[in-house]
Symmetry: D2
Subunit: 336 residues, 4 copies
């Protein structure tokens, strides 16, 4: 067995905290070596909870001899700078989604990583969910035949704070971006056109921030498949994550798990258990599998989610915003 | 296409009324020629509703030239006399379950039918239910392998009137008898031993009538399979009819349909539609298929549910009663 | 109990034949009095099978004293002429969908029926499906809250003949029209804009006939709800008919029934039974309920599916075609 | 937050290894302080993997100052001796099931623990499974009403080695003992009578070892509820663990989870994912919850699974063996 990969974690917010727990306790093959956050208290808390060093700067962490690889989980606008630093240090990097909201920035990161030849994995964890992956695997195995239609419903239980929404890139670059990734992942085909529409149905403050909270997107793929996506920032019944690929030979579906496989029956019928509340309940095994794949990449394997895989959904998100603004289907090639 | 089989219906109670509707409207290949009931009003009502003749006696109906076959749906204690009359007239007969509560009577009926060479089909409609039949077919095709365990839950929504219970033969000969039939049907193997227990949990009046309303039975089959059955006279959530066969190669299951394949989701989870209320909601297609099989038998085919198939579950029911009385497993051979 | 409604059936093709069977055998409260078809053999066959008169012309049937109401199940281009004749005769009418492919014709029919004051019901049978209706009822009861998203998948097992496709009005006016009706029915809100796209993935001959066989539609409703519809002319796994309404208070879903509630389990997992093959397997109870509603209308009740309900989905279908031709979302008001 | 509970683990076989991983990595509030096994290599391997001390004897481990509580996961015949030692040292103890195969031994352990006043929790992990617990909670909340019937299917994917079977106490004391615990847990009522039967259908070697591999049990409870249990040592489709409580007010069910909530549809119908292979796949969250409860007990809470809860299912297992030997229902009071 190889030595564990010593990971330096940049960013100790909600998602960073989760990764710290995974890296130090759940994932075989990693240790959490060091952490950093611009909010010193956040980093100190993680450092203490998981026995990691508390680096005094991102640069110190990235360059530390006992850090083999970095996990970039800080705010989106810092991702590319940190990636470029990791490339300069020759350290493999995990980068949370979205890579950036600025395509030029993304391209700068890709150039740096490519030149340095570091392995980079983008944090599209849903590719590692066993149910979604089943859909992809059936398609890849030819069991769905030619893919004609993909259907994705992706609904959060509650909106994030408005302060977050304001810097998030809006629903298409923050939330739908996962679904754009799924559309590419499942079909194995690039998007050529995006049509999007939506509304503000959940919270007027989201509209005042210039965003939508309810959205529908149609993606046309190069291979002729058509993906429909619907999103809501609030599903009162929990975190709703469904995916289905339909084709000439069959259909593969990923349905929601429930919090327990239990039911109650009375004269009104059956009563099943609720959905998981949110991604920490639903997707922990996918995050764990994501890190297993990262370990394999650090040990010489290919990236399971490349920078190109990180760039394409951002282009689709920008195309979706253009579509909403202009009321027309937008060719992806117009955006980048 | 053959001429329709002209059926004479004996007994116009609840089950007879249902058969009249099926024979005159739903089943291809039959007409309802004549009806008779000791309660003249019941017969008159059916005769008018479905345009059948109202015979003045059972004998007149059985012997009528324009009656090709008879359906014996009268009270249980009249079944064998009527079957013997049908045999004497050389008319094929459908007989509702149970054939009788008296084994000697059953044997008299079998002797008469055998001597006359008439086709007889016993009314175990559940053999024609598509979901139960799927279980049997998987077993018969070898996909379950050697059958090790069969599990049957069979629960009514509400008890019948006490007046009915008093003449019903009790839960094992009235209600469990269907499950005994299913156990034989699914395993393809005779019962060799029966152990039964139960209680009065639904209505003390059922206990005062000498019956149980809640029962559990273990049947050991000649091929080593073991069937467990549970029954209740009152399931508040509707008519619960489940069946499962487990063996060396797999498991086949028949689950409950619901009244609609629809659901509602809120923060408490999912809410599905109720089960069908009772046999008229659940089993109508099986009754229709039962008649199609009868038509095929009248046209020369084999009986799909023979008199021997009618006799064996009665023996099992009598063995179950002996088991409850004596607190021990009862070999079926002790009973008959 | 009222006297049965004596129905005259115009059109004895596949759908007419089905209605004849329902009207004469299944539906309480109707008799099939007379039939007519331009193909005399088709009418003769139905007349004989169900004991109805074989009228020598549509006019003779419509005007017959012993015909209380007419069922217009002939080819689409004859619907309005026959409706106008029924109006002239003062006879209530059932009209199959679509009313016509020509809005001016539809409006001529509406004018005639309105002037004559006859009751008219349009044949959108899915409104009577118990699972779809459950969704509508949850919305109408406020349990879904404000409706934000409606999702409809509607996929046929096999395309109709090309000869039919050529006169069908294309996928949007022939097949999606049912889904347009469902979108209005479930949301209780009119469409204001339609965006549609699609492709030819199933059979190139469908494309050569100027039609699509795979389609996706987004409908924006007056109340802000957004409906997504996907259609295919060929689902190899059977007739796929799903519907879901999502809103501020919950979600209501109509899922597919299967041909039997049975399963088989082996080391590969579970194996469930197929979907119903097509509408005759899936929707017979809805057709029966449709006729019960028609009987109630003839006896003085309101129309459950009005001529306005027949017109609106045609407008949506025409808007969908305009959207595909012009590559833009089309306001319904542009069409009519 | 309290200091973590420092646990000494006795027994480093398959189940001990699993507990070591949970105690050191997953469970909040515990550390794995020391380990011991009569097979020194097993203990050394666990000690190294999880950074625990490797004690040179059970006594040294139990008495160590830095061991706050002990986990007794060694072979069944050593449980009581170790429990008595833990009692002598005043250390709280977790004891795997079964406590012993000898009731007198169990009573000796109970006496020692009671006298010492130590907290003891028996390892019936299924009480902590969220789906099974849902059933218990519905019963406890009165939503099932008076419990009439409980139905348990509990089937392993593969038999253990014959060498294990020979010292296991046989199917009723090794495997069904979990179901006996569930029957008491769910009904909240003691067993008064046990009837059991079974066969050797999976492997003749199991029969040669004097055991059964296929079994059915009926348990009658003090409150009148009747539980049926079926067991098999080999379910080819995976680890089948189902539980259902039926009563006067409703039914609560715990069904099997599958390895992914995904399906594939083709012309044969639907194809779902397999069941979890075995308890490590299915029950890890229940083991984790079990330890959380243990931590709460060590911090002063009540035992969630008392020694009395450990004793009663053993009595039921012994009664089941008596029933099989003697072919009669056996009152639990006869056994102890």
């Amino acid at each position: 067995m190889s030595d564990p990969v010593r990971i330096g974690l940049l960013g100790c917010g909600r998602i960073g905290y989760m990764h710290a727990e995974l890296l130090s306790r759940r994932v075989q093959g990693t240790t959490l070596a060091a952490v950093y956050d611009v909010f010193s208290e956040a980093a100190a808390s993680v450092a203490e909870a998981y026995g990691a060093q508390h680096a005094s700067s991102a640069a110190e962490l990235i360059e530390a001899d006992d850090v083999d690889a970095v996990a970039i989980c800080s705010s989106t606008d810092t991702h590319i700078d940190l990636l470029v630093e990791a490339a300069a240090a020759g350290k493999p990097a995990f980068v949370e989604k979205p890579l950036s909201l600025d395509l030029a920035e993304v391209d700068r990161g890709i150039a740096a990583a490519t030149e340095a030849g570091i392995g980079v994995q983008v944090g599209f964890n849903r590719r590692f969910d066993s149910a979604h992956r089943h859909v992809r695997d059936r398609v890849a195995a030819g069991e769905v035949g030619d893919v004609h239609l993909v259907r994705i419903s992706s609904r959060d239980p509650d909106p994030p704070p408005i302060s977050y929404i304001e810097v998030s890139g809006g629903i298409f670059c923050d939330m739908t971006i996962h679904d754009f990734d799924m559309a590419r992942f499942v079909t194995g085909s690039e998007a050529v056109e995006v049509y999007a529409t939506g509304g503000v149905r959940v919270d007027p403050a989201i509209g005042e921030a210039g965003d939508l909270d309810t959205a529908v997107v149609i993606v046309t793929h190069a291979n002729g498949a058509i993906t429909t996506i619907d999103n809501s920032r609030r599903a009162v019944y929990g975190y709703d994550q469904r995916l289905e690929a339909f084709g000439s030979a069959g259909m593969a579906c990923s349905d929601n798990p429930t919090s327990a496989t239990a039911s109650y029956w009375d004269a009104d019928g059956s009563h099943g258990r609720p959905l998981p509340y949110f991604f920490l309940d639903r997707y922990i095994p996918s995050y764990e599998a994501e890190w297993n794949a990262f370990v394999a990449m650090v040990h010489g394997g290919p990236s399971p989610v490349t920078l190109a895989d990180g760039r394409a959904p951002l282009v689709m998100g920008l195309a979706a915003w253009a579509s909403v603004r202009e009321g027309r289907p937008v060719p992806v090639a117009e955006i980048g």
